[in-house]
């Protein structure tokens, strides 16, 4: 059991390492001359050579990779090409903002999705169940930015309840923070709900077919009691797994959603740096996103292992 979890952890670390190789290869080796990228095409050969010397760019790639990795682990992410300021400063502010958004989205999405999934499992085939299935599938048929757009149209333009963009997050008051976070968080909720609702419904319905549920029904237990006390505890494993997976999905979801609302998070920073090819910023944002994603997938795997003994033998 512990061995299996450790094995997953080692695999997780291995994939983070592969990702770091990939990130370095794409952003450092591939684009060609970094000195030209920083100084521009018009720079003289001497100034380029001087910069190459200062940044150590004429050393072999594997030494630069080792150096880059060592610096990153110590929290030194280099200097942005675009703003000429240390990347670490910008990134730490942006990480805090993205975390706020992801946490609020998770706090909204998990209980709402689980409650809706349980309700539709309690009344399978009912009009509520059908409407929920169709509705949540319609929402995921649209890209996140379209959902965000429709929410803006409805809540910001038509009813003027919430700000349409959140270019800076007012963290001085809780109300201000929540107002700024509401629309981006609702958009993320729309992106992750369908999977969680459907998996919760499927997991509970799967248990509902078991003989001990029939036994409970014959004893005259109420529908609510059967679903909550008998079925739910036995369906916790797959549900927890899908929740963790969707928290991982929030990580990539924030990239698009932050652009929709001009929200000053890590995703917007990464997209802007890709457009300007600001490599040091791209490197660290990509590493943060991927590491978080891998860790959440690892968490999902571990929880699935813990909750379902049958998986332990299979692996």
């Amino acid at each position: 059991m512990l061995k299996l979890i450790l094995l997953r952890a080692v695999l997780g670390i291995a994939s983070i390492w592969v990702i770091s190789l990939l990130v370095f290869a794409i952003t450092d080796i591939l684009p060609g001359d970094t000195a030209t990228a920083i100084l521009g095409q018009e720079a003289t050969e001497e100034s380029r050579a001087a910069l190459r010397d200062r940044l150590g760019l004429d050393r072999p790639a594997y030494i630069r990779y080792a150096d880059w990795l060592a610096n990153m682990v110590q929290g030194d992410f280099g200097v942005s090409f675009a703003t000429d300021t240390p990347v670490a400063q910008t990134v730490s502010l942006r990480v805090a903002n993205s975390l706020r958004l992801a946490i609020v989205a998770a706090i909204l999405a998990v209980p709402i999705s689980l409650a809706l999934g349980l309700l539709s499992a309690a009344f399978p085939g009912s009009p509520f169940d059908k409407a929920l299935t169709v509705g949540s599938l319609l929402v995921v048929s649209m890209p996140e930015f379209v959902v965000g757009l429709l929410l803006v149209l409805l809540l910001a333009v038509s009813f003027k309840l919430l700000p349409a963009v959140t270019t800076s997050l007012d963290t001085s008051s809780l109300a201000g923070t929540l107002r700024g976070l509401a629309l981006p968080a609702l958009t993320l909720l729309a992106a992750v709900q369908a999977h969680m609702i459907r998996m919760t419904r499927a997991a509970v319905l799967d248990v509902m077919r078991k003989p001990f549920i029939e036994m409970a029904q014959l004893k005259g237990a109420s529908r609510g009691r059967i679903v909550l006390r008998h079925a739910l505890p036995n369906a916790v494993g797959p549900i927890v797994n899908v929740v963790a997976l969707n928290l991982g999905y929030l990580v990539s979801g924030v990239v698009v959603v932050e652009v929709v609302f001009s929200y000053p998070g890590l995703g917007l920073l990464m997209v802007q740096s890709v457009a300007t090819r600001d490599m040091p910023v791209i490197q660290i944002t990509a590493m943060i996103f991927c590491t978080t994603y891998v860790l959440l997938t690892l968490l999902a795997d571990t929880l699935a292992l813990l909750s379902n003994p049958r998986l332990r033998d299979a692996a």
């Binding site: 794409i26 684009p31 599938l137 048929s141 740096s273 090819r277 990509a286």
Partner: protein, 289 residues
């Protein structure tokens, strides 16, 4: 003997299409309209994609611009028609490419097994642990954005999932009697894969093709919305949402129309997939038991 008869009938029911449902017809219709738009959209557009037709930004519908104008005063309808080939074409090309490569590798892995299989699955799992949007952002950071880069990137992102699925499907089929017989006849690997396994795995593969295609449509739209896909003055539907975003606050529909078209395209694909993955006609499935 009964075993053999059963598996043969099972194989035939995999090949059969389910009866058409209302939603299935709707999905096929939506797909057909979108395919026509992708092929003929540019030809029937009244204006070129970049032409300024006057009337100012976010103009109301008029004779020259039936759907109004966009943020630069260009005909919205024409731009939608020109954009169709990108939104649909890139997704279709990338998915086809990913499937051709993915099925070849996946089938081969299922038939060869051994070390080739293990290594392939290992590589797939590593790439699956990488969020797709971040992979695309990295590739665009390295290579810049262009039509070939976009198609190849999306095809590559599809690849590990297609390999895993086609491998699983082929493994199920490769133990059936008629494949054993082909193997005993001494048929070559390409012949077994292409003539025995492929025809019998078309339906699950078609379902997966639909799912991957709708992913590709959403993905290229999102990349263009981020400003990293098709570059101005050309625009796919996702790019049109991006450029006309500010119009929303004035109540202009310029961003909403392409957004809804993306939704309808994906809905069409999903409804078709639902129909394809539905039950084969009742009589036959009962026969199977």
């Amino acid at each position: 003997m009964t075993m053999l008869a059963q598996t043969e009938r099972g194989a035939r029911s995999i090949r059969r299409l389910p009866d058409l449902t209302t939603l299935g017809i709707l999905g096929l219709l939506l797909l057909a309209v979108n395919a026509l738009l992708a092929v003929f959209g540019s030809a029937i557009a009244p204006h070129s994609a970049a032409e300024l037709i006057g009337g100012g930004a976010f103009g109301p519908p008029s004779d020259a611009a039936p759907w109004g104008t966009d943020y630069l005063g260009r005909d919205l309808l024409s731009r939608v028609l020109h954009g169709a080939k990108y939104s649909i074409g890139i997704a279709a090309a990338a998915t086809l490419l990913g499937f051709l490569a993915g099925i070849s590798i996946g089938f081969a892995a299922a038939e060869i097994r051994g070390r080739f299989d293990v290594v392939m699955i290992w590589i797939c799992d590593i790439f699956l642990s990488f969020p797709s949007i971040l992979l695309a952002l990295l590739v665009i950071a390295g290579f810049g954005t262009s039509l070939p880069v976009l198609i190849l990137t999306i095809a590559f992102i599809q690849l590990p999932r297609v390999i895993r699925l086609s491998r699983a499907v082929a493994m199920g089929i490769s133990t059936l009697e008629f494949v054993e017989v082909a193997r005993a006849r001494g048929e070559s690997l390409p012949s077994i894969l292409g003539r025995e396994i492929l025809p019998n795995s078309l339906r699950p593969l078609a379902v997966e093709f639909g799912l991957r295609m709708s992913f590709a449509v959403l993905f290229i739209s999102s990349l263009s919305f981020l400003g990293l896909g098709i570059q101005p003055p050309e625009a796919d539907w996702g790019g049109m949402v991006r450029e006309n975003l500010s119009g929303i606050y004035y109540g202009a529909l310029a961003a909403i129309i392409p957004a809804l078209l993306i939704g309808l395209l994906v809905l069409g694909i999903n409804l078709t997939v639902d129909w394809l993955s539905g039950e084969v006609p009742k009589a036959e499935s009962q026969d199977l038991r």
